[in-house]
C-alpha cells in the first residue's frame, strides 16, 4: 500500500494543480490545497468539481461530447497521466458521479516490448492510475471494474514507435 499512498498524494497534488491551471474561472481551487492536509480525498473532489462544470447530463452517445474521448495514453513503462488527460478524466468522473448506476470498465494495455506477464502488471498499474483519479473525483469503487490485457490486445499492429504509442493505453469502456 506504500505505492498507493505515495501515488495518491502525487496524483492528488497534480490534480489540484491541473484543476487550478485549466479553468481560469475557478478561483476556489485553493480550497482544495488547504483541504489536502486533513484529507486528500476531500481536497481532490473539491478541486475536480470546481475545475469543470457538471457533465452528468452529457450524452454518452454524442460523438461531439468530450465523453466520447475514451482512451488515455502513456509513456513507456509509465503509468503517469498527463494534465490534459486528467481534465478529461475529471469530466468522465463528473458523469459517473451524477449517474451512480452507470458502471465503467478500465482496460489497461501496454506495447509489446518486454515480457508478457510483466506487461499485464504494467497495464494493471495504468488502469489503477485512472481508477484513482475517478475515485478521487467522487466515483464509487463499485462503479469501476479493472482488467489488464497487457500486450495481448494491441490497438495498432506493427513494431514501430508509432504503433507502440497507440498501444500504451487505458480504454474507458462504458
Amino acid at each position: 500500500m506504500k505505492y498507493t499512498l505515495g501515488s495518491f498524494i502525487v496524483l492528488a497534488l497534480m490534480l489540484v494543480i491541473s484543476g487550478c491551471s485549466s479553468k481560469g474561472g475557478s478561483m476556489d481551487g485553493g480550497a482544495g490545497i488547504e483541504d489536502k492536509g486533513t484529507g486528500a480525498d476531500g481536497g481532490a473532489v473539491t478541486s475536480g468539481a470546481a475545475g469543470g462544470s457538471d457533465y452528468s447530463s452529457y450524452s454518452l452517445t454524442d460523438p461531439n461530447s468530450p465523453l466520447s474521448r475514451r482512451v488515455i495514453y502513456f509513456e513507456y513503462d509509465s503509468a503517469e497521466i498527463t494534465d490534459s488527460d486528467q481534465e478529461l478524466l475529471v469530466m468522465h468522473a463528473s458523469y459517473l458521479f451524477g449517474n451512480p448506476d452507470q458502471s465503467i470498465t478500465l482496460e489497461g494495455h501496454t506495447d509489446e516490448r518486454g515480457s508478457r506477464e510483466y506487461n499485464i502488471a504494467l497495464g494493471d498499474r495504468r488502469a489503477l492510475s485512472v481508477q484513482r483519479i475517478l475515485e478521487l473525483n467522487g466515483v464509487a469503487a463499485e462503479q469501476i471494474t479493472i482488467v489488464s490485457y497487457g500486450e495481448e490486445k494491441a490497438a495498432a499492429e506493427g513494431h514501430s514507435d508509432a504503433a507502440w504509442r497507440l498501444n500504451r493505453r487505458v480504454e474507458l469502456v462504458y
Binding site: G114, S115, R116, Y118, A156, E157, G158
Partner: protein, 431 residues
C-alpha cells in the same frame, strides 16, 4: 464485388486453416565441431510398398536439431546395410563419420510394427547400443524420438530431450476479430494438437511436472482467470478467479502447488496456492510490481520479476516468504525468467539499448551472457535436459519460435506457415 470479396475471404480462411498444420524448422546457425553421423534408412518388411514413417529421417533431423551432430546427407550414403553383418566399417571410415545407425522396421500384424535399431562406433568397429521396440502406427514418430534420445545419451552422456513436447499459444486475425489457440506439439513441431481455442487472449501455459496437465491464463470471461487442463482428455477446471490479475501460474516441482500472481490485495504480488485451491499463501509484500514466479528445482525458493528497485529485475524469495534477494544487475530490464533444470542458470528477457534479447545468467559465477540477436525476444523456456532454450521472436511482421543452445553456439527457427506463435514452454521428460 462484395461476393468476390467474401469468396476471397473464405478462400484465405480455408488456406490459413490448412497451412497452420505444422511448424517447420530451419537451422539458422550451425555449430562447429558437430559429431558426424550416418543414419541409414531402415529396412522395411511389411505389406505396403513403403514404410509408414521414415524413421531414419526423423532421427537424423532430431540429431541435427540438437546442434551436437551433423548427419550425412542421404545422397552420400555409400551403402544401405540393415543388419550388423552387412556393415563394412572401412567404407564409413572413409566418409569420416564417427557413428553409424542402422535398423529395420517390420510390420508384425496389421497396423502393428516393430522398430529395431543399432548404433555403431565406426572407428572401433563396435556396437554401442540397440533395441527392438514394438509400436502401433500412430506411435512411430514417438519411437523415432525415443531412439534419438538413446543415441544422444549414448554418445554425449547427457539425457536426450527429443521425445518431449512443447506447448505454445498462437493468435490469428486482426485487432477487431482475433482468435487465440493453445497447442501442444512434439518437440520437432510435428503433430500439433489444439487443446483450447478462444476469442479472448490465452496466456502463460505451464506444464505440470508429470507432463499430464497444463495451467494457463484465459480471458474468456473478459477477466484474467487461471485454469488447469488435462492434456489428454481436455477436461479442465478453474483454479483462480480473484478480483484483478490472476496470472503467471507455474507448477511446483512436487506438482502439489502453483505459484501465481494476484493483485487482489491492491497490486501484483506472488502467491503460492495448493492445486486443490485449499491453501493460499502470499510470499511478497512490496508496493511495486511482483510477478512471473518460477520455482527452483528443489522447490525451496522462487525467482520472480519485480520493479521495486525502479526497473524490472529478477529476485529470489524463499518459499516461506521473507526478504527477497536481487539477482540481476546488468541491464535496465530483466524479466520473465526460467530456471535451468539443474537450478544453476537463469534464462530471461534482457532489455538494453531498446532491444529485448534472451540472456542466461550463470548463478555460480554471476556472469550474464546474451544468447540471441532479435529486437523483441521473449518467453525463454529450458529443454528438460537443460541443453536448449526455446523462445519467441519476431520475423518480419510475425512472431515465430526459435531455439538456441545454452552456450549460444547453435540456433534454429520453428515457424508456423500462418499466424503468430508465442509463449513456448518445453514439457518435462516423458514418463
Amino acid at each position: 464485388m462484395t461476393k468476390i470479396v467474401k469468396l476471397l475471404i473464405l478462400a484465405s480462411m480455408f488456406i490459413a486453416a490448412h497451412a497452420s498444420a505444422a511448424l517447420t524448422i530451419e537451422i539458422t546457425q550451425g555449430m562447429e565441431g558437430a559429431i558426424p553421423i550416418a543414419v541409414v534408412p531402415l529396412g522395411w518388411r511389411g505389406t505396403g510398398a513403403a514404410a509408414p514413417e521414415n524413421i531414419a529421417a526423423i532421427i537424423a533431423a532430431d540429431l541435427n536439431r540438437s546442434g551436437r551432430f551433423e548427419s550425412l546427407p542421404d545422397r552420400d550414403l555409400v551403402a544401405h546395410p540393415v543388419t550388423a553383418e552387412q556393415v563394412k566399417f572401412q567404407n564409413w571410415r572413409m566418409l569420416n563419420v564417427d557413428n553409424l545407425v542402422i535398423g529395420q522396421l517390420e510390420e508384425t500384424t496389421a497396423g502393428q510394427y516393430s522398430v529395431q535399431f543399432e548404433l555403431f562406433d565406426v572407428f572401433r568397429g563396435k556396437r554401442l547400443t540397440g533395441a527392438t521396440i514394438p509400436a502401433p502406427a500412430r506411435d512411430l514418430r514417438r519411437v523415432a524420438h525415443y531412439i534419438s534420445d538413446l543415441i544422444y545419451e549414448t554418445l554425449t552422456g547427457e539425457r536426450g530431450a527429443f521425445n518431449t513436447q512443447i506447448a505454445y499459444v498462437t493468435s490469428s486475425g486482426n485487432s477487431k476479430n482475433k482468435s487465440y489457440t493453445l497447442l501442444v506439439a512434439d518437440s520437432d513441431g510435428y503433430s500439433p494438437q489444439t487443446i483450447l481455442t478462444s476469442k479472448q487472449p490465452l496466456m502463460s501455459p505451464s506444464w505440470s511436472p508429470d507432463g499430464r496437465q497444463i495451467a494457463y491464463v484465459s480471458f474468456e470471461n473478459k477477466t484474467a482467470e487461471i485454469y488447469i487442463q488435462e492434456v489428454l482428455s481436455g477436461s479442465r477446471r478453474k483454479l483462480a478467479s480473484f478480483k484483478g490479475i490472476n496470472g503467471a501460474p507455474t507448477w511446483s516441482p512436487d506438482g502439489r502447488k502453483l505459484a501465481l500472481t494476484l493483485s487482489r490485495d491492491g497490486n501484483p504480488e506472488i502467491y503460492v496456492m495448493t492445486i486443490d485451491g485449499g491453501d493460499l499463501r502470499r510470499l511478497t509484500n512490496s508496493a511495486a510490481i511482483d510477478t512471473e514466479p518460477v520455482w527452483a528445482p528443489d522447490g525451496k525458493s522462487l525467482v520472480f520479476t519485480s520493479d521495486r528497485g525502479g526497473s524490472a529485475q529478477l529476485y529470489r524469495v524463499s518459499v516461506t516468504g521473507g526478504p527477497a534477494q536481487r539477482l540481476t544487475f546488468d541491464g535496465k530490464y530483466n524479466a520473465g525468467a526460467d530456471i535451468s533444470p539443474d537450478g544453476r542458470k537463469l534464462a530471461m528477457v534482457h532489455g538494453e539499448g531498446g532491444r529485448y534479447r534472451i540472456a542466461v545468467l550463470d548463478l555460480d559465477s554471476g556472469l550474464l551472457r546474451i544468447l540471441t540477436d532479435g529486437q523483441l525476444d521473449e518467453s525463454p523456456s529450458f529443454s528438460p535436459n537443460g541443453s536448449m532454450i526455446i523462445y519467441a521472436t519476431g520475423a518480419g511482421n510475425r512472431e515465430v519460435l526459435s531455439a538456441v543452445s545454452v552456450d549460444g553456439r547453435f540456433s534454429q527457427r520453428l515457424s508456423l506457415q500462418a499466424g503468430n506463435v508465442r509463449e513456448p514452454v518445453w514439457s518435462p521428460f516423458g514418463k
